[in-house]
Symmetry: C2
Subunit: 288 residues, 2 copies
């Protein structure tokens, strides 16, 4: 199977419309129809149920959609990482445009640990320049998979660490963040049940991996900063790792939640990484 065929199929499977898919791919519709037919013949599998009005995925088509996306990610990763390896091999000094290492972390996650890590790593004699990518929640895995990042900071149990190598860095409890002066802030600690249904202060909704939001009450948020803003406005409350207290503004207060799941920060990298720089960074992180 060629990646071109995979790209074509994924486009059609996502659009469920040959015309739009062809447009997206920058080709005409007939060659696309032909390519899909040829792919189906070669695989010996019907991938799409199509009438002249509607296109639907078959079971085999659904399999190829998920597997094909993973395969295309792997190909993209190979390309990106090779390009970067070539750049950092020539421009040995590693100017800002040529990072030796790309680290992905959630936007607005606690930066204390990251700052310590970057400092400690930069102090190593073999350190290479590190670029930090801030991404949406649960996006780190994608970046590692398609080669846009070499290493990431994840937070269990929120982020999945499957198919990644990881090293635990720290574990912490969680606190509920409330507007200053809220009655609950007088308490020394609370339980999840105390905050599940606070009047006027719902828990927020985070985007799913596909970018859409689950239905339900609560405001939609994209990062921790937005959420803090909403809490300050009295529109939501937040359950966050306790390290967020260190930089809490005056108009917010935090109370430990005894039965909230512990959050573990881990450093993760793709399992087949052979990069010297990744290994150094991970070793540095493990020693913090």
């Amino acid at each position: 199977m060629e990646t071109r065929e995979l790209r074509y199929f994924v486009a059609v499977a996502e659009e469920l419309h040959f015309g739009r898919a062809a447009q997206r791919l920058g080709i005409a519709q007939p060659p696309l129809s032909r390519a899909i037919q040829q792919l189906e013949r070669r695989l010996g599998a019907v991938l799409l149920d199509r009438t002249s009005r509607t296109v639907a995925l078959t079971e085999a088509g659904a399999v190829l959609l998920t597997e094909g996306r993973a395969a295309l990610d792997a190909v993209d990763a190979a390309e990106r990482r090779t390009r970067r390896a070539a750049l950092s091999a020539t421009g040995r000094t590693g100017g800002p445009g040529h990072p030796g290492l790309v680290l992905a972390t959630k936007a607005s996650a606690s930066n204390e640990l990251l700052a310590k890590l970057l400092d400690a790593y930069a102090a190593e004699p073999v350190a290479v320049p590190v670029e930090v990518i801030l991404c949406g929640p649960a996006e780190q895995e994608r970046l590692l998979r398609d080669g846009r990042a070499d290493v990431a900071l994840l937070h269990r149990p929120f982020d999945s660490t499957a198919r990644l190598h990881t090293e635990e860095l720290s574990t912490e409890g969680q606190v509920v963040v409330l507007p200053a002066g809220h009655p609950l802030t007088a308490r020394a600690h609370v339980h999840m049940a105390d905050i599940a249904d606070l009047p006027g202060l719902p828990l927020p909704r985070w985007p799913k991996p596909d970018g859409t939001y689950p239905p339900g009450p609560g405001p939609q948020v994209r990062d921790h900063g937005q959420l803090m803003q909403l809490v300050a406005l009295g529109r939501a409350c937040a359950v966050s790792p306790e390290s967020c207290r260190s930089r809490l503004p005056d108009d917010l207060a935090a109370v430990p939640v005894l039965d909230a799941p512990k959050v573990t920060t881990v450093i993760a990298w793709p399992p087949h990484s052979r990069s010297r720089a990744v290994a150094d960074l991970v070793r540095t992180a493990a020693r913090l």
Copy 2:
């Protein structure tokens, strides 16, 4: 990047010889040279240092070799799983030629657990036919990655479970297997130090993932059956999970090794698997 280019590059990078690589690919040498040059131009990276006598990988080339192999595995997996999905969708009865599920396990591993698992799963109303592939040690991950298997039984800490979803099934200690009548068999238990250097009974050498054997003393073995044979012949001793005692022949004896690492049997599957059958099998396994 097209998979054809990747296949070409991987062939050259493995052979380090354009002529042989071309032969292996079933094409002539000149088109292969051209394809690699074109790939290098498009990536903007020198992948191979070549003189007219020798070919060597550059740093970027080494990256593309590992990343490219992973990508090709992913593409192969997509193809195989799609084919299988199509087959099991049409031949719904699932004749023996059309397994709904392929399970990989080490040849000669203890089959007790597997037998129980297969029985329990077959009793489920939604069960599909399961094909069992016996493979060499540490080969299961490869089979899962390139789609030849859907699910595997692994043994930690011997097999790596990175990039896989897993569920623990059982944990057991290890025993040393010796020829019956050996002085140590009189002991109730031993320690690793007692057996590290038994005269005439070295520990065996297992193949590395690439199929070669590490240097050193001890016979080369490919599976547990071979090893037992060698022990019976008085040419080796073996440290194995204690479940192997259940089918130990008369001429062998086993003694618990107190400080050997515990062996955990886990069931593993590719992280993006959406297969109903895999989920059912895993659930069945977890309930055993």
